[in-house]
């Protein structure tokens, strides 16, 4: 693997770095808030992974330009008079050719990530809510202290 290739995959390196950082925090930190932060970092790394794989080199945002969108609409075309129908069809062909040249990024991973982010937020919210209740009941959010309190009981 050459150096260029190595750095060319920088997105993935970031993903791996974040993933491991988050995972480590979850395992190593006994403070509950920090655990949740670790979990978030872990999840964000996955979001980056997906977004990275959706990227196509030279691709643009997967939005069809308005011109093409308007004119390729069959109904819109037929609303013109019959005399310039020919011209319109030509026009549409022209735009279609343009559209084929445009390279789009894959939109699906980003869409998937919208869902994953929502799930992540829900998880975080629930985790925080649980932490609030734990802190009310135990007066601390350090797992070691809580375990100690439970054992003493």
């Amino acid at each position: 693997m050459t150096l260029t290739e190595f750095f060319g995959l920088y997105n993935y390196w970031i993903v791996v770095f974040l993933m491991m950082t988050g995972f480590y925090i979850v395992i190593a930190r006994r403070n509950m808030i920090k655990t949740v932060i670790g979990l978030n970092i872990f999840q964000v790394s996955v979001v980056l992974l997906y977004v990275t794989m959706g990227k196509v080199t030279g691709g643009t945002a997967p939005i069809i330009p308005p011109g093409i969108a308007g004119h390729s609409d069959g109904e819109h075309a037929s609303s013109h008079g019959s005399h310039d129908a020919h011209e319109v069809v030509d026009h549409a062909h022209q735009h279609a050719a343009d559209a084929a040249e445009i390279i789009y990024s894959n939109p699906l991973p980003s869409v998937l990530m919208l869902t994953a982010i929502v799930v992540g937020i829900a998880t975080t919210a629930l985790a925080l809510a649980l932490i609030v209740r734990i802190s009310e009941d135990y007066g601390t959010i350090e797992e070691d202290e809580i375990l100690l309190m439970d054992r003493r009981q």
């Binding site: 794989m53 799930v119 998880t123 649980l130 932490i131």
Partner: protein
């Protein structure tokens, strides 16, 4: 109308609880929520039974969500395996909810009841969805729906340890789910599709015909399989966490112990089984058994972890004085039996694994329901407080004894059927050691079940047991319905073992969803 119903049948058991769940919150009344959720659960159960009969009649059913064709749209693929499991989940869900009333009033503050019902329905939605869907990303979404609602349900428990247990489960569960997500991402990267059947087909491209040297067929081989390996590893480990396979089981004992009894009944009966189902789908539907078991030593890994898990968890169960925790450890051991069957990857073994998902769901559900009855009347899950309760609560105690026999695997109970199938499968595969160890391990179940029976019947009554009265009728009746089911499916096995056999055959014929 009927045609319309039949057409949308695959999606209805998921949509109905999903729609009713927010309704319960919006209406905010616990009585209305109770009636609504009961209605939703029983309707779902009825529909899933209808679905099973349709699948038996027509074979596999595909349903395209919103009319979008796969691989672009989301497909719900109903086959013998998942329709069977969906019926079990919906059935347990409905019966446990019917049972829940008195226990819920005892253990959960009234102001939170409508939230309980909503979460319960959401949890059911998630589990049903995981079974029904043929889309891998959808599996993740439904997994999270069921998991999130389970965390919240567990935190409803009476003691302050409940939120803690829920939090620990949340951390483990989220790691598992995120692993799953990574695996899904990598597979998507390789194949460009999320439809499970399609992924299976796409992965075929990477398969290289086995090399034949001197007339001996070499191991199968996959080209460029590194991404595939990593994806497989993430998916397997992620699902193993959700299945509570030893040594990834640490979240389970606390969650089951501190959750409200009703929640434990439902979750113990269904949640781990659905993860096992997802695991089966991933191994058999996406990656082939060839890949998992011949190229990779997943079978050896699985059965060694299963056996160690069975022994460790069973022995741990023997030493628990908290009965819920005792059963929780037993659940970990029982998952081992399911994986043992699956790891054999032959007709009988797979049938055993699948049928044990069903049988164990019934048995564990029944036993936790019994525990719920005792908790209501004795106010304790400690064995000391259960002493002599056989005299004041004879019916509940009898239910424990019968359910316990099922867990041990005595003939005429459904536990025996799974054990028997597993045994014959192991003998067929010439895994004599596995067969012998499995039988010996089932003797450990005798100990942890029978200790409780002896405490119930032969000890002088504790203070609490003296004052106890028989559990409320509705709880007893529903408990006995499930207990009776464990006996019925121990004799009448065409439905359980027969359907599981169909499912196994389907999977072994390269059954992608």
């Amino acid at each position: 109308m009927i045609e319309y119903l039949h057409f949308h049948l695959p999606v209805l058991p998921i949509v109905i609880p999903l729609m009713i769940a927010p309704l319960c919150v919006l209406l905010g009344s616990r009585h209305v929520a109770n009636v609504l959720s009961l209605f939703a659960c029983w309707v779902t159960f009825g529909l899933s039974l209808l679905l099973v009969s349709r699948v038996c009649e027509l074979g596999e059913i595909s349903y395209f969500l919103g009319g979008w064709k796969p691989p672009y749209g989301i497909e719900y693929a109903i086959d013998p395996l998942n329709s069977f499991l969906m019926a079990m989940i919906a059935g347990m869900g409905a019966i446990v909810l019917t049972y829940s009333g008195p226990s819920l009033r005892d253990e959960v503050p009234k102001s939170k009841h409508y939230l309980f019902y909503s979460l319960y329905l959401l949890c059911m939605t998630g589990l049903m969805g995981m079974c029904a869907t043929g889309d891998l990303f959808n599996v993740f979404v439904f997994l999270e729906i069921s998991s999130l609602s389970t965390y919240a349900l567990i935190s409803l428990g009476k003691t302050r340890r409940a939120p803690l247990a829920a939090f620990q489960y949340l951390i483990m569960g989220t790691i598992g789910a995120t692993f799953l997500l990574i695996g899904i991402g990598l597979l998507y990267q390789m194949t460009g599709t999320l439809n499970m059947a399609d992924i299976g087909v796409q992965l075929e491209r990477y398969r290289v015909a086995a090399v034949i040297v001197d007339g001996i067929e070499g191991p199968p081989h996959w080209e460029g399989s590194r991404t595939m390996l990593v994806a497989f590893a993430f998916l397997t480990v992620g699902l193993c966490i959700k299945m509570a396979v030893f040594p990834l089981h640490t979240w389970l004992p606390n969650s089951y112990t501190y959750a409200p009894s009703v929640v434990t009944c439902f979750v113990a009966a269904t949640a781990t089984k659905v993860s096992v189902y997802a695991f089966i789908r991933v191994v058999f539907g996406i990656f082939t058994p060839e890949f998992a078991f011949e190229l990779l030593p997943l079978d050896t890994a699985l059965w060694s972890f299963s056996l160690v898990g069975i022994f460790v968890a069973s022995i741990a169960a023997i030493y628990q004085t908290n009965i819920k925790r005792r059963l929780a450890y037993s659940s970990i051991a029982q998952v081992g039996y399911m994986l043992l069957g699956i790891s054999m990857a032959n007709q009988d073994g797979l049938t055993a694994g699948i049928v044990h998902m069903f049988n164990h769901g019934l048995i564990k559900g029944a036993l936790f329901m019994v525990v719920g009855c005792f908790v209501l009347r004795l106010g304790s899950v400690q064995m000391d407080d259960w002493r002599g309760a056989g005299k004041t609560m004879p019916w509940t105690s009898l239910a424990w004894a019968i359910g316990g026999l099922g867990l041990i695997g005595v003939p005429v109970t459904c536990g025996f059927i799974s054990k028997w199938l597993l045994l014959t499968a192991a003998m067929e595969d010439e895994l004599y050691l596995v067969a012998a160890l499995m039988l010996i391990s089932s003797l450990l179940a005798v100990i942890y079940v029978w200790q409780v029976v002896e405490v119930l019947y032969f000890s002088p009554p504790s203070e609490k047991a003296k004052k106890a009265t028989e559990a409320p009728l509705i709880m007893l009746v529903t408990t006995y319905v499930v207990v009776a089911a464990t006996l019925v499916f121990g004799v009448w096995t065409t439905w359980s073992a027969g359907l599981a056999g169909d499912a196994a055959r389907f999977l072994l014929q390269g059954g992608a969803p």
